[in-house]
């Protein structure tokens, strides 16, 4: 199949983009990297009247370390994140996850903003944004606002931007020194969306006990849950093998309730159990990978 006809608009500035989006509303879709949108147009899953090409808007293409975190423009390509020394310094896990997206040619085009707005439940960038509690900077004719990605990401393929809003950049908060983050990605075939990603963010207190634990798992077609409050009773406990076993049990039980216990679900849960052990050991500093991965 081929895409249906549309009117094409190629813009140079965010101001133009916001103006045109306000005028055209839902009749227009934004074309960034196009690595998901173009197949959807080709399969005619989407038939917009207007396509707005934002690839020339250089003001959305930047990676900036700031006082309170790392700002990444919406138009930054995955390969740029994967090779960025700045990202490697501030959020090594984000860099590694970007390098696991799709394949080399797809990473050259696909953008972080596009991936976050699409909110594919199996995708890497949404999961990283959920894990680190990233905030999106949104512009519309009404002005600028920031919103937590955790609030915007309601359900699979549903990132709840307001009418006429566009994502300009994403801010990953500065992480404490004693933070380790590790993720495991389980791909059935190279280049495909992973069947499972589990990511652990662990902050240790001065005695080496748990000061904070966040776990996000992408599996099945559900919005990846952010698991945080369910570990509150474990604060201060050292993340030894026994504690990690307990955490993994809770995570597997929680995911079991979300993705179901049919044959495919049971298989994913068994993979999750093994990968959780690897992630938790890394995040607890039991392996060398924990520090940087």
């Amino acid at each position: 199949m081929k895409p249906a006809p549309f009117s094409y608009h190629r813009l140079q500035t965010v101001a133009e983009l916001v103006g045109l989006k306000a005028r055209l509303g839902d009749a227009a879709v934004i074309l960034a990297g196009g690595q998901s949108l173009v197949p959807m147009l080709t399969l005619r899953l989407s038939r917009p009247e207007h396509v707005i090409d934002v690839n020339d808007i250089v003001e959305m293409d930047h990676i900036l370390p700031e006082q309170d975190g790392l700002r990444i423009g919406a138009l930054v390509r995955h390969q740029h994140v994967a090779e960025s020394a700045v990202v490697a310094t501030h959020l090594p896990l984000l860099r590694r996850m970007a390098g696991g997206i799709g394949n080399y040619a797809v990473r050259q085009r696909g953008t972080i903003g596009g991936s976050l707005v699409l909110a594919d439940p199996a995708a890497h960038m949404p999961l990283a944004a959920l894990l680190f509690d990233a905030r999106l900077v949104l512009r519309s004719a009404r002005g600028v606002r920031t919103a937590a990605y955790r609030d915007l990401y309601r359900s699979p393929l549903n990132c709840a931007l307001d009418a006429g809003e566009v994502v300009v950049s994403v801010c990953f908060p500065r992480q404490p020194e004693a933070m380790r983050a590790v993720a495991e990605m389980f791909h059935v075939t190279a280049g495909s969306f992973p069947a499972l990603i589990c990511a652990v963010r662990l902050v240790a207190d001065a005695q080496g006990g748990l000061a904070g634990l966040t776990i996000v798992v992408a599996a099945g077609a559900v919005r990846p849950p952010v698991m945080e409050g369910m570990f509150d009773d474990l604060r201060g406990v050292r993340p030894d093998a026994a504690l990690r076993g307990e955490v993994a049990r809770r995570v597997v039980a929680h995911m079991g309730g979300l993705i179901g216990q049919d044959a495919a679900g049971r298989y994913l849960l068994s993979v999750l159990e093994g990968r959780m052990a690897v992630c938790l050991a890394g995040a607890a500093g039991d392996t060398k990978e924990g520090a940087g991965a």
């Binding site: 081929k2 173009v38 080709t42 394949n103 050259q108 085009r109």
Partner: protein, 158 residues
Amino acid sequence: MIISLTVNGEVRDVAVEPHYLLSDVLRDRLDLTATHVGCEQGICGACTVLVDGQSARACLLFAVQMEGHAVTTLEGGAPSAELRALRAAFHTHHAQQCGFCTPGILMTFAAYLRDHPDCDEAGVRAVLGGNLCRCTGYGPIVRAIMAASAALREVADV
């Protein structure tokens, strides 16, 4: 609409509609048929070309987007050192059978070898995951790419 495309260093004016894919315009309007179209969903990699020197799926781009950018196909005017080395190594190592996937693989690795002169086999295999081949089992392709990489390093050392 008439757009002006820079393909293989030549500026070509071509009549297109905005929804025409780059892969179709290359093949059907410009007669550059080395760019093969397989899945048309970005999976198979057969249509990989270079856009401003970086690999990209021609089936995931609209031709109209390419105004102001340089597109390089396998036919490309003066082949790069990487492409010449890859071609020679693909011959030597019998790295193609039906040839459908070959152009996409050559374009992908022309860019990859240029940017990663010290690549290892694991890296090559990871990148090759973006190009489907249904004939060779990939072994000869990996050997050819590693040989091309080694040959390029030898030239660079001289």
